[in-house]
């Protein structure tokens, strides 16, 4: 018996923790690579007022619209049975929907979801310029509201009153009815957060400037960016999803550890 065990001890060249270490390294590398790839720059480098007035941009936008959007939204953006009218939707709406990859839709479903963007930033802005030229609507936000320099405390209060019921108090998102959901707000560009508040995309309600002023919107964005950057004092956040994730963790990992210890304590030693 001792001989066979000795043999087993010698032939096991790999350390028992090697598998765990390998998996951990794999996860870290994948995670880091993913973060690198998913960094999106949504800041408009162009001078928007001149860009949106430029006839050539509007014409280019109209061409892109005719080729990619008109099937559902109609040739004159007047809307069809498959898509709403975009007259008066404004540049902010287009920049949000196209800039986050939600539009063009992959399929008709409960909710249009974030995908890899289909248009370059310039093309997105040309589309926005075209839709904005049809009728007045919410315009792209001023850069001074997007730099995260607002009042984090006010932003937190406003976020908890107006946003947290759907988007979760930590901005981690949450479920809605019939397959819809409020997306997580971490990693979303400030421009897109601002545009979503102003335009109320899909089933999100509108928070116009009379309800939440541009400065207050800037406070909310600052609060969200603060949440993203601050380290979690409580340790592992488990996605900040609350009792479901925490319960699952403690029932499986916590109780699993307790059971493993119990088995070990009561098992007969060899």
């Amino acid at each position: 018996m001792t001989l066979s065990q000795k043999k087993a001890g010698k032939s096991g060249r790999r350390h028992p923790l090697a598998t765990v270490a390998l998996v951990a390294i794999g996860l870290l590398v994948t995670g880091a690579a993913y973060t690198g790839f998913s960094q999106t720059s949504a800041t408009a480098e162009v001078d928007w007022p001149t860009f949106s007035q430029d006839e050539s941009n509007i014409t280019a936008g109209e061409k892109l619209f005719g080729a990619n959007c008109a099937t559902c939204h109609g040739l004159e953006a007047e809307g069809t049975d498959d898509g709403p009218s975009l007259i008066g939707a404004g540049a902010a709406s287009v920049n949000f929907q196209v800039g986050t990859g939600r539009m063009p839709l992959a399929f008709q479903g409960p909710q249009g979801m974030v995908k890899p963007k289909q248009f370059s930033e310039e093309e997105t802005l040309q589309l926005a310029a075209y839709v904005a030229s049809l009728a007045p609507g919410p315009d792209l936000p001023d850069a001074k509201y997007l730099d995260g320099s607002g009042d984090v405390s006010t932003g937190g209060t406003l976020f908890r009153i107006n946003c947290a019921m759907c988007h979760n108090v930590a901005g981690a998102g949450g479920a809605l009815t019939e397959g819809k959901w409020a997306p997580p707000l971490t990693g979303v560009a400030p421009t897109h957060i601002y545009e979503a508040m102003v335009t109320g995309p899909q089933n999100m309600p509108v928070f116009n400037d009379a309800n939440i002023t541009p400065q207050e919107k800037s406070d909310i964005i600052s609060y969200l960016k603060y949440l993203e950057e601050k380290p979690a004092v409580g340790g592992l956040t488990l996605g900040s999803l609350g009792p479901v994730a925490e319960g699952l963790f403690i029932w499986i990992i916590g109780l699993g550890a307790v059971i493993a210890f119990t088995v070990w304590v009561t098992a007969k030693s060899n």
Partner: protein, 360 residues
């Protein structure tokens, strides 16, 4: 011996006859192929008993674990010294608590694991049987104790002096009553709780103001500010002057939405309760009172996050799904001379979950 015991006491008899052939007469079935008691499996020695090298190794493991525990305790102390929370920066708090906690966890866990491993691998490995004895005391002790009770009863007169006994029982029953009465003190003293539950701060002409969190009341809302698809979280403007602000707020919170008027289904008696597609509903769920505020712009559904009740805003907040039994109460609103939204009256029914006197 077994026969003698049977005649004395059944409990003792059963215990004595266990494992013997003498089951009580009449119930015994003599099975010819009864299962034989296989006895205990042979004792298997541990590797630490057979191989002194393994024993030595187990010993090393145990004391190493105890030294690790010492290291954990000291490490925890060092962590407190080297990761102080001085600037109040969040990452400092995190480092401090993380390393102090890790040290303490290691200290206690290593003691436990070491002790168990010591017991399992090194301490003497005997197998023995403890025979179970009957639970009941012997006859003599039982008679003696029942005698004590009899004497106590005679000397105290517990069964003889019935008035004394019954008055004592009465006193014991009456004793908890003050505790129950004191519960009344948890309810408001000078007001009827039922009236409090039935009425909110809303009244004719009270303006709808923005909720600014806690006891703060924001600016009143003009009808023109509520564009289609908008949602406002609303409190009564007079909330700031209320005596018990948070309790009053809990009853009076309202969700204000503007729909395309053509989407609204309005019944005859509520025709003038909304203003040009602007509707106001109580935010307190009629199920158990969570704030219902998950508003979907296009389906016009309000979702309660606690138990997934859904209300259809376009159809007078009727329940379309979930455990809620009643629609959310609607606040009748209109517009005053200056264009601000005002309430026409209080809610026409009590807000929130059911209570006994709700319909009285």
């Amino acid at each position: 011996m077994a026969d003698e015991a049977t005649s004395n006491s059944k409990a003792v008899a059963n215990a004595h006859s266990h494992g013997e052939a003498g089951a009580s007469a009449g119930t015994a079935v003599i099975a010819s192929d009864a299962v034989q008691n296989p006895g205990l499996p042979p004792h298997r020695k541990r590797v630490t008993d057979l191989n002194p090298k393994r024993a030595k190794r187990a010993e090393r493991t145990v004391y190493t674990l105890f030294y690790i525990s010492v290291a954990g305790s000291l490490g925890s102390m060092l962590a407190y010294m080297f990761f102080p929370i001085e600037s109040g920066e969040l990452w400092q708090i995190r480092l401090s608590t993380l390393f102090i906690g890790l040290g303490m966890a290691l200290a206690l866990l290593a003691i436990g694991v070491g002790a168990v491993h010591w017991g399992k691998a090194l301490m003497a490995d005997h197998e023995s049987i403890d025979v179970r004895h009957p639970v009941a005391s012997d006859e003599e002790t039982r008679e003696a104790s029942s005698e004590i009770f009899k004497i106590a009863d005679e000397e105290s007169g517990f069964t003889r002096r019935t008035l004394v006994r019954n008055s004592l029982l009465g006193a014991l029953i009456a004793f908890p009553i003050p505790g129950i009465t004191l519960l009344r003190g948890l309810a408001p003293q000078d007001q009827d709780p039922v009236t409090l539950l039935k009425h909110t701060l809303w009244d004719k002409g009270v303006r709808l103001a923005r909720d600014h969190g806690g006891a703060a009341v924001g600016a009143p809302i003009r009808a023109a500010e509520v564009t289609i698809g908008s949602v406002f979280h609303v409190v009564p403007e007079n909330l700031a002057n209320a005596e018990d602000v948070l309790n009053e707020k809990a009853k009076a919170i309202v969700l204000l939405m503007r729909l395309d008027p053509s989407d609204l289904k309005v019944s005859e008696e509520r025709k003038d309760w909304s203003y040009d597609g602007i509707v106001a509903y109580s935010k307190v769920c009629t199920h158990v009172g969570c704030p219902v505020a998950l508003n979907e712009q296009h389906t016009h559904h309000l979702l309660c996050p606690c138990h997934q009740s859904q209300f259809d805003v376009s159809d007078e907040a009727k329940v379309v799904f979930g455990p809620a039994k009643r629609p959310l109460p609607q606040l009748p609103i209109t517009v005053d001379d200056e264009g601000y939204l005002v309430a026409q009256s209080d809610f026409h029914e009590p807000v929130g979950p059911s209570f006994w006197e709700r319909l009285k």
